[in-house]
Amino acid sequence: MAAKAKNSVWAFLASVQLALILIGLLASTSIIGTVVQQNKPPEHYVETWGKTGAAVIDALHLDNMYNSVWFLLMLGAFSLNLTVCSIDRLPGVIRQVRKDNLDNSPEQLLKMKLRHHAQVGGSVEDAAEQAAGWLGDKGWKTSRRSSEDGSILLFAQKGAWARYGVYVVHISILIILLGAVIGSPTVAKKILKNEQFAFKGGVMLPQTRATNRIFSHVDESEISLGFTVRCDFFDMHFYDNGMPKDYLSGLTVLEDGKEVLTTVIKVNKPLTYKGVTFYQSSYNDMHSPIIHLTNAATGKKMAFPVHPQQYDKTHSWQEEGGGQGMLRIQAAESIPLPDGKGSTTQMQIWMMDAQGPPSMFSIFYNQPVIIERPGAKYELSIGPHYATGLQVAKDPGVWWVYSGCALMLIGLYAAFFMSHRKMWVLIRREEDGQTEAVFAGTANKNSAGFAETFSALAENFGRKSN
């Protein structure tokens, strides 16, 4: 009784009926979250759906439904269904793949739809060798067994593993879901109690500033990176029509104060360091100027933020050869633009480096100039001070997800387009003393295609051996 109850629960969990119900439910409820906007402030729901609507949305967590308990439970049930179904069916499939196909009786072969009888000369043994050679040449490697009545059975198959295709697809779905769990910030925080294991967050990093922590998207809490990242510069380029072309940030990674890595990231070209990935996602204007200085020979970029109240502070840097460079805004004044619309700022600069006397010159806001010094050449500009907006994520599950995806495509291909084809040849002596070769074959898919292959093989053999 108990066993029977258990069996019926198992059968239900393994059933395709349950799968159809769950897939249907997942598909139909998913619609809700595309109509009700997700993760908006409560006012939004009252405004859009009225008081009652907003109450329903709140009660069913429709404002964050893909993370709600009921939706996750449905995904869990779906995973359980897939797991049980696979456990239930895999042994049978393995048996089918491993099956001893030389066991088949002549009666079984003679019942198969694809059959061809050919008369062959010579002994049974000769004919068997001939048939094995013929099939082998065509890529069908045969195994054989002789039986007591003097007949010989040959068997060859192709694509037996294609039977696993469906299961590869099903398991790949489980692997993807597992990857999603492994990479979930919520799981890391609430279950593993280790926020650093997996997180999604962001940080606004002004040029020249460094940070060793970022802010979680989940709850704004601080997450420590375990290393430091500095924004060397932020830059953007535009097309002639004004559309944005590029956003770039120069980033340097520091460990214990030492620079270990310097790189430039762009949208679609993130930086990954120790499993943490930095994405270019936005920027902010700090509403104060910054001095950019690039050594034209070495390409070394430097930047010095200007404090509006103390703009005439002296900035200094270390030369590669060992000397020191210095730069100062001596004076700044606002001057009207030639077209009379608005104004710009003109600044007097004092600058020196390891070689030669100091240089004095003037520069306009946001207009780069080239400075030739006796020992070096620089590009200098003074422009707006930006902060780069970085999305920062650590997702240790992503490789599970990607592997699952790759497996899914392989599995789908096998399940849809490969078939398990079997071919037998029974060679026996007929009552009239003639030797007969009986070809028989089956395929679990694309039977029309296999029928063609089969008849070409079998009929041509008959023709050839006559």
């Binding site: 395709v16 009926q17 799968a19 159809l20 897939i23 249907g24 997942l26 598909a27 998913s30 619609i31 979250g33 595309t34 109509v35 906007q37 997700q38 939004h44 405004e47 859009t48 893909y66 999603a180 999604k200 097309y239 029509n241 559309m243 944005p244 072309k245 590029d246 956003y247 762009k266 949208v267 679609n268 070209k269 993130p270 990935t277 994405y279 270019q280 996602s281 999305q391 920062v392 994520a393 997702d395 992503v398 997800v401 990607y402 995806c405 899914m408 495509l409 789908l412 291909y413 849809f416």
Partner: protein, 283 residues
């Protein structure tokens, strides 16, 4: 010198005439009409291929070279092109030209729509940073091959249902007599869905990889993503219902239509209807 948009005009006309001849085949049962329909379809595909190539080249002449796959207009062009090609391959492989009367109108209507909808920008515009990714190209190509196959499957589904209902209605001598056997249609629906499912899966996957490269999340349940997975579920359901529950015939034909409604919604509805709903909300 002919321009890409002139070529698309010629293509539209070719698809229209092709559809007309295929419908002629359906109505008058003249084999010749089907052959002309196929020739016109092939000619249209050729003109469109050259047109797409030219548009690609034009983008390089503007100094912003990129494959013509980056906005609504270009995706519609590509969709029409895929649908026509998939249909022609289906005819070459399975030799049922009558299907053209249901399949070729799809690329025609798509192209006609691009010339009617004035809100559709046809400019070749440069790529904003988020779109500068090879994954995007892979994503668009795979998705739209999938969508095109599902469109053809829906056309087949309509044929199936017409034949099914006219047979059960007893009028055996209507034009449905020339339609392929129900069993054949059923098999073709299944085959095109399988083909589309493979590509849609690849499309969702490449989209996820692209999102992860650009924003650091492969899945964020935004309406477009969600609708693509809904579509994927609908077809997964169809495959299982058929494969393991033995559903076939009219039920699968209806599911092929439902699946295409979902495709349509993923493609258009999310852009037009859901944002529309959003704007009602703010009133």
């Amino acid at each position: 010198m002919i321009t890409s948009s002139q070529l698309f005009g010629i293509t539209t006309l070719a698809y229209l005439l092709s559809s007309a001849f295929y419908i002629g085949l359906l109505v008058f049962r003249q084999r010749k009409a089907g052959q002309i329909g196929l020739a016109l379809a092939l000619f249209g595909i050729l003109a469109q291929t050259v047109g797409l190539g030219l548009r690609w080249r034009e983008s390089y002449q503007l100094g912003i070279g990129h494959a013509p796959l980056t906005n609504m207009y270009e995706s519609l062009l590509f969709f029409a092109w895929c649908t026509a090609i998939i249909y022609v391959l289906l005819e070459i492989k399975f030799k049922h030209p009558v299907i053209g009367s249901f399949a070729m109108p799809i690329p025609f209507i798509t192209l006609a729509y691009t010339s009617v909808d004035k809100g559709l920008s046809k400019d070749i515009s440069p790529l904003v940073p988020a779109l500068q990714s090879n994954w995007l190209i892979a994503h668009v190509i795979t998705c739209f091959i999938g969508y095109a196959a599902f469109a053809v499957a829906a056309g087949l589904g309509i044929m199936y249902l017409i034949k099914h209902f006219s047979q059960s209605g007893g009028s055996s001598d209507s034009s449905s007599g020339i339609l392929p056997e129900l069993r054949t249609l059923d098999d073709l629906i299944h085959k095109t869905i399988i083909f589309g499912f493979m590509w849609l899966s690849a499309g969702i996957i490449t989209g996820a990889v692209w999102a992860n490269e650009a924003w650091g999340t492969y899945w964020s349940w935004d309406p477009k993503e969600t609708w693509s997975i809904i579509t994927w579920f609908v077809y997964a359901l169809t495959l299982h219902a058929r494969f393991t529950r033995g559903w076939n015939g009219a039920r699968i034909a209806w599911l092929a239509l439902l699946g295409f409604v979902s495709v349509f919604f993923t493609y258009f509805g999310v852009n037009y209807w859901l944002s529309g709903l959003h704007s009602y909300g703010s009133n």
